[in-house]
């Protein structure tokens, strides 16, 4: 895949929030690329800028406090940040779709499922009557909604959480997007449903060739679903590589710390490890590496300058002074 031109190129994206406390650099120079059919996982602590990155891609940053202050978002070669609101609306509907965290509020409680799926299909495929109904049923069945015919006339509160999330996904995928942004889609599902849902998503993704940005803080989900991982910290991507590279040879101390936090089933009674300290205040970032105050491998010069992104391996980069020296 690396030779084909990427579907999505994000270059030096910066989204800041202008508040009374000062400028919050929620996303501060994020760059990544994504190919068709590929899944990129964005991981990191709460407040590391994962969700704001996603919202920036579709230009839904809450205004007027938040603003995209710089960078490029190239989807199929076109810069989304340069588009007029009307053009943007067309792109959103046709090319990008989203699945959000809470399946309870992703569906309109006062419209039937059939109406809600049908509206999207009608908008994008200009179908009516029987053909429309068939199409709606098909997209529900694709997401394994059983008894789809009877389900059409039902309201969201008659569905379980997992089913609602599948219906949301059916809506998102029914307009055949090229990019699907899934912002913690499984957080509110229980574990068995999570696995089912993600397998299903993977299946649908493979058959439709959709590129997926998967936001999560669950490394288990990353390992099972993502082709590549980007670890975010304080609004920046501190490490990015294929899932194998990042898991086998994490080059950034933060990634290593995150991975150490995972409970290891091989050990019987163990203490859960945590990362000491607090995530930095995004309004008052230290001049050096934002992770330096919590970093166990901190060097004197870490406090002086922000470390550049260093190539560790082919396709594996990390922003750490020690990265190039880290065991590969």
């Amino acid at each position: 895949m690396p030779d084909a031109s990427p579907l999505l190129v994000v270059e030096d994206l910066r989204t800041h929030f202008f508040t009374r406390r000062g400028v919050i650099r929620a996303v501060d120079g994020v760059s990544f690329t994504l190919h068709a059919g590929e899944t990129l996982a964005l991981v990191g602590e709460s407040g590391s800028g994962k969700s704001v990155t996603c919202l920036s891609l579709v230009r839904l940053v809450p205004e007027p406090a938040g603003r995209i202050v710089g960078g490029k978002v190239l989807l199929g070669g076109e810069d989304l940040l340069q588009k007029s609101p009307a053009e943007m609306r067309r792109v959103r509907g046709k090319q990008i779709a989203m699945v959000l965290q809470d399946p309870m509020t992703s569906l309109n409680p006062s419209l039937t499922i059939g109406t809600q799926v049908g509206e999207v299909v009608r908008l994008h495929q200009r179908l009516r009557g029987r053909a429309l109904r068939e199409r709606v049923l098909e997209s529900l069945r694709r997401l394994r909604i059983s008894a789809a015919e009877t389900r059409l006339g039902q309201y969201p509160h008659q569905f379980s959480g997992g089913m609602r999330q599948r219906v949301s996904s059916a809506i998102a995928l029914s307009c055949a997007p090229r990019l699907l942004i899934a912002d913690e889609p499984t957080t509110s599902l229980d574990v068995t449903i999570q696995a089912q849902y993600l397998d299903l998503l993977k299946e649908v993704q493979a058959s439709a060739g959709v590129a997926v940005i998967l936001v999560t803080h669950d490394f288990g989900i990353v390992a099972a679903n993502a082709d590549r991982v980007a670890v975010m910290y304080a609004g920046r991507i501190v490490e990015m590589g294929t899932t194998l590279q990042v898991f086998n040879a994490p080059a950034h101390p933060y990634t290593r710390a995150l991975l150490r936090c995972l409970p290891d089933p091989a050990l019987k009674r163990q203490q859960l490890v945590e990362i000491g300290g607090q995530p930095p205040d995004l309004a008052q970032l230290p001049p050096g590496c934002p992770f330096a105050p919590r970093c166990p491998e901190r060097q004197p010069h870490c406090d002086q300058a922000v470390p550049p992104s260093v190539r560790v391996e082919n396709g594996h980069v990390a922003s750490c002074w020690l990265a190039s020296a880290a065991p590969a």
Partner: protein
Amino acid sequence: MARRRDVPWFASAVLGALVLTAVLAPFLAPHDPTAGDITTKLIPPVWMERGSWDHPLGTDRFGRDVLSRIIYGSRISLLVSLIAIGVAGTFGTTLGLISGYRGGLTDAVLMRLTDIGLSMPTILIAVVMVAVSEPSFRNVVLVIALLLWPRFTRQIRGETLAVKEQDFVALAVVAGRSSAWIISRHIFPNVVPTLLVISTLQVGYVILLEGTLSFLGVGVPPPNPAWGLMIADGRGFLATAWWISLFPGLAMVLTVLAVNLMGDWLRDHLDPKLRQLGSRATVLEAPTSATLGTAVEEAPIRAGAGGSGG
């Protein structure tokens, strides 16, 4: 789930009877409500001396049958309420939806307009407005609507603010929907319960306002049998012929009471459904009147559960 006992029987009965009365007025009224006969003036109700079944609730100073006038008066009260609330509701809701959804400058301007509307001295404005124009049915309706719309705008805007934060609105934006579409398809259906509640609660207010205006002589012009007008008519005879004022007054009290009871009931039953937008449905469903005693004891736990949900 269905709580039959909770249905407000009294309010439903009164309102049902009222609507039937208004619709069937020509068949129910024993006399022409506007035709007077001096020879039968000031006849007392049937149970008093001189009273007769011909005029069960007596007659007024022109000899018009009080019962027939009350029956026909229900039409005026209902029509004025329905039309005024329809007009004010449509206008107010539209502005509220736009104000809440757009936010920013639009919201600021519309909300200041609403503040102005809400701070108008109701009776004074109504009297002035009707005084400069002819008192007529249409003008009464317009004046009441003018005084009423800000109440809708204010509430619907608040509700819109809450609905608009829901994910399905953000997803509709991502799906490339226009603002007009999102407002009408995604936000409006979710504020309908609130709209119903406000509308019902306004009916009582409108009936009283119309009564007040008619009483002051700037409402529905005579000889129309408006309840307020009838109360005003009997003012000079309170000591001798109290029935002229009392019975329309009673009709008004009963109607307003029933409407307000109904509105309260609707509010209690529709609002939690609206909150069900989120995942708190079960928490809100829990404390019914039957479990109120235990609900109070469990209050801290319940508050904790609600907090983590939100």
